[in-house]
Symmetry: C2
Subunit: 317 residues, 2 copies
Amino acid sequence: MIHPIPPGTRDVLPDEMRELRALSERLRGAFEAAGYAEVWTPALEYEQVLRAGDERAAGAGYRLFDEHGEVLALRSDMTIPIARVVAGRMGDSEPPLRLCYFAHAYREARAAGELREFLQGGVELVGVPGAEGDAEVVALILDALDEAGLSRHRVGIGDAGLYRSLLASLAVPDELHQPLLERLSRRDLAGLARDVAELGLPRGDRELLAALPELRGGAEVLERAGEAVEELRALHAELERRGAADRVIYDLGLVRELGYYTGAVFEVYDPAVGFALGGGGRYDELIGRFGRPLPACGIALDVQRVHIAQAAEEGLG
Amino acid sequence: MIHPIPPGTRDVLPDEMRELRALSERLRGAFEAAGYAEVWTPALEYEQVLRAGDERAAGAGYRLFDEHGEVLALRSDMTIPIARVVAGRMGDSEPPLRLCYFAHAYREARAAGELREFLQGGVELVGVPGAEGDAEVVALILDALDEAGLSRHRVGIGDAGLYRSLLASLAVPDELHQPLLERLSRRDLAGLARDVAELGLPRGDRELLAALPELRGGAEVLERAGEAVEELRALHAELERRGAADRVIYDLGLVRELGYYTGAVFEVYDPAVGFALGGGGRYDELIGRFGRPLPACGIALDVQRVHIAQAAEEGLG
């Protein structure tokens, strides 16, 4: 007798569960030691409410009708629900707010074998703008992964608006921005180069559009990119102040898929595994869409992926 | 701007969340100290698979279609998914198996204000039949609630088959059993008495059917009920052996709503609050429906209700 479970979901048996629980507790301990207080929001939300946060996030996962015909959706991340809470029930709390969460999120799998239910552990820093807030969150995630026993992890840092600004400044027609950004978010640099070649731009501009996403490395990348990365340079200074600057990688081609990011974007890596352990970024307009304009940024870790990276690091000795 | 959440769901803010997390960790610590290992199963299951466990459980909550038109349901408890796992991926594990979980379950609210998403912390003991298994689980739950700081809690104990057997032995027509059992499960003793009066049974039989559900108290209840409660007397002896007999209440009218219970059934009370903190029972046929016949029993606590009882006990001084 076979009794299947839905594709992209998993049963977690005792040995793995013990390790996942210990890992979550270590991450939570690090978040709480830094003053981040845990919150919980319902797994089901009105789709219309999620849409207020981000059009694309709302359609990304499982949807159903309630008994009144309203469309409900399983949360696809915790950032939008927490933005709702910060503007709503926590509307009287004085910023800055430091919040964390451990909860499953649900998304459409885009590739075979990808999980559709995954455990996220993350932080949101609300009310601290720009480089200061970004650096606090990046340094906290690096520390929390130290606590979790990783040693080779890095945070990749890009800028959500950089490529978009470049497209606009080179007068690339608006309707071509989204397809090009999607190539970039999938890291399809060959496809991007082909598309760019067809734009009919002067050679220098074409080269700039193809070269920017290849800029990846330490602080020297920021030197080469000039004025466009002023904000990332400020972030670098803050990270140096916190002693975390040597564990980040600037990546000017980094674009996160969610539409609510407005500034720095982050991806968490470990060289022991070939996938990101998490990500996030600055979203200064999201909470305002729920009625309380406040700058914010956050990072979510995929706890099961961090667990795999733990094991892989141990395997590498 | 109001951004509602679905009825029967809640946002949990930092102060409450800190207490709920501490409570969960204390319960989990007690479960693990007793050898119960934590597992996780997906929030979404194929409805057809849940139905294999219990017809009624499958329709009790939120349902949706996946991209292939299959019906998925949000789990309405963890007992059926764990039965699936014990028969499936854990099929080679030698019984007894001691498992625990902390996960949200989803059900249709039957009354205004009832939660539709609620956090359950519970245990399943697989492969230990009858009184011995029942007593272990009841004593563990009493201990775990001690650890959680409660002091006045009790476990109510009934027998899922008792009233059904009595109806059968008095030749009450089969089609009348379910409506009478539903009255009983809702504790509608007045309605039950009315229905019983209309059965056209001899007076002695009518009195027996009306009187049995009123039998509630200590071991003396078991003396009065005679041979029909042989199994509960064996359970009482086991509870005495474990020093837990003075903290249970025998309640011969106790009927749990789920259809998979086959023996003793449990409800957890605290006199400080007017609702059950949890419940469970023996389900000796459920795991067999997934292909691995094994006796089992378990109890789930509603963590948020235990938290309310904690506060209420403190309030009572």
